[in-house]
């Protein structure tokens, strides 16, 4: 993790999957898609605790998420598919039809004094 830069991976998570059926306005889905998982050592380096808000910035856009420790290598960040992660993904498909969905760089900045799920 250099300069707070991470490689972001997006994918299915259990709660995000059931939320598709229950409705994306449901709390379970909104919580699931608003999380970013990080290696605990990376969280410690950034002075983050579970539930702290972070700002993620990619070359395509920016968004906010709540961090939680996950079982993944240092330098990697994971978010479930959904409208929050979609603020960071790119619509350039390099002649494949497939947008830039996984494995791109994001910069991560702690958002001071903000914790808890955004229930707007």
């Amino acid at each position: 993790m250099a300069d707070n830069t991470f490689t972001l991976i997006t994918g299915r998570s259990g709660a995000q999957g059931t939320g598709i059926s229950w409705g994306k306005e449901g709390e379970g889905y909104r919580e699931a898609v608003q999380l970013v998982e990080l290696n605990p050592a990376d969280m410690e380096c950034l002075g983050l605790q579970e539930g702290d808000a972070v700002r993620l910035i990619s070359r395509y856009g920016a968004t906010e998420a709540l961090c939680r420790p996950g079982n993944l290598p240092t330098g990697l960040a994971f978010m479930a598919f959904g409208p929050v992660a979609n603020q960071l993904t790119g619509a350039e498909t390099r002649a494949s039809g497939m947008p830039d969905t996984r494995g791109f760089e994001v910069r991560l900045e702690p958002v001071l004094n903000r914790r808890g799920v955004d229930k707007r």
């Binding site: 790119g90 619509a91 494949s96 039809g97 497939m98 996984r102």
Partner: protein, 428 residues
């Protein structure tokens, strides 16, 4: 009332052993279904609380909404039809005819999940098998870039890992399970061999594996960036060559990462190579219930599995040109019809922006970001719960989904059929 052997159509596993208990036209139990399947059955059997059709947010008769949608679509110069992954093949067939009648584009969720697999198959063929063969024969199962425990929760128990078959009578004990992924997931605990690789480097690893399988020399330094060692990869190559029946399940970790269709091409070529030594097959881990079916329908109708354009009166295929994300990003689409999908919640923000600028028509079984945004929206009966129809399992086996509850809304098939009829009249 009970229904035996119902088919869950939430994911590409299409489990056909679900036992439904129905009370007062509601599914109260879906025995054997996983958490995703239970949520699908329960949520989709809720009593309907939305009007069958809306135009500009106001409740209207279905006929009036058909008229409004037909006018919007026929007025457009570059309409695109999109989605279709969670509906029946019968509805998908109407959608293809509609795109042709409009001279527009048709693309399905495949372009953002396994489109690269489709492109690789066009180039190198598909050495594949059915999930029945996996269950009965496979003694080596490799999940690459896939987390079945969360994406297809019964894949391992019903077909590939713990299931017992004719030549795998002891189930899990008869199989070696390998997981290749960039992170540890809930699936990891099922693996005998877990390879954690660096993101975006799958092509290089698959190519090196090909070399090892074919007995060529691989320099350890060449693997320095991959996160795994030559010894680990050599061990995997040996497992692959020496198994009796191997299967590689290709996940979206391969199709959505750098390399996209090249990753899948390398995986297919590896499987082809392996067939010089043993029996090996590849199956893409298709996500949505009938996303495999829409590829089938599009291919048998147009020759291409996704990203098809009819503006010249005949089908043309070009990923990157006629695919949904590109058509939206370049602001070419001037009307969008979304069917059984939620592009407003699933595509990159830059593409979603275009959905807010053009006439949007949405057909779905429930309220979504897309139906909320749509100028014209229809509520449809869910196939497999309140409507019947055909769906293809991820291994391209077609299954017929029966209706379990009374239908309240028309089906996608009916709505698209009526829309097609009206568009043809307006175009005549």
């Amino acid at each position: 009332m009970q229904i035996e052997a119902a088919i869950c159509a939430f994911c590409g596993c299409l489990c056909d052993d679900i036992v439904l208990t129905i009370e007062s036209d509601r599914i109260v139990q879906a025995k054997n279904a996983c958490a995703l399947g239970k949520a699908w059955y329960t949520a989709h059997s809720r009593p309907p609380d939305l009007p069958a059709a809306r135009v500009d947010g106001k409740s209207v008769e279905v006929e009036e909404a058909i008229e409004a949608a037909a006018i919007l679509l026929t007025k457009a110069r570059y309409p695109i039809l999109y989605g279709l992954s969670s509906t029946s093949c019968e509805a998908q067939r109407h959608a293809v005819a509609l795109a042709e009648a409009l001279g527009g584009c048709i693309d399905c969720c495949t372009s953002v999940c396994h489109g690269p697999s489709g492109m690789a198959v066009q180039g190198f063929g598909e050495p594949t098998c059915t999930l029945g063969e996996v269950k009965n024969r496979a003694d080596l199962v490799i999940y690459w870039g896939s987390n079945p425990a969360e994406s297809h929760p019964r894949h391992m128990s019903r077909y590939a890992v713990t299931s017992k078959g004719r030549l795998t009578p002891n189930g899990r004990k008869n199989r070696t399970v390998v997981l290749v992924d960039v992170r540890s997931t809930p699936s990891s605990r099922f693996a005998d061999l877990l390879l954690t690789v660096r993101p975006g480097i799958d092509f290089e690893i698959l190519w090196a594996l090909r070399a090892l399988v074919l007995g060529r020399k691989v320099e350890p330094a060449g693997l320095a960036e991959t996160g795994i060692t030559l010894a680990q990869l050599t061990h995997l190559a040996e497992l692959m060559k020496n198994c009796r029946y191997g299967v590689l399940f290709a996940g979206q970790g391969l199709t959505q990462s750098a390399g996209n269709q090249m990753n899948l091409s390398a995986a297919i070529l590896l499987v082809r190579d392996l067939n010089q030594f043993t029996k090996f097959a590849i199956i893409p881990m298709r996500g949505h219930g009938n996303v495999t079916g829409v590829d089938q329908v599009l291919t048998w109708q147009t020759g291409y599995p996704f990203g098809v354009n009819f503006s010249r009166g005949y089908p043309r295929f070009n990923p990157g040109e006629f695919t949904m994300v590109d058509v939206l990003r370049r602001k070419e689409a001037d009307a969008v019809l979304s069917v059984a999908s939620d592009p407003a919640a699933s595509l990159p923000a830059e593409a979603v922006q275009r959905l807010t600028e053009v006439p949007l028509i949405a057909i779905d079984t429930h309220e979504s970001e897309t139906t909320r945004l749509a100028r014209v929206s229809f509520m449809a009966s869910t196939v497999g719960i309140r409507a019947s129809g055909t769906a293809y399992r991820m291994d391209n086996v077609p299954l017929f989904l029966k209706q379990a509850l009374t239908s309240i809304y028309p089906s996608d098939e009916e709505i698209l059929g009526r829309l097609l009829e009206r568009v043809r009249e307006l175009k005549a």
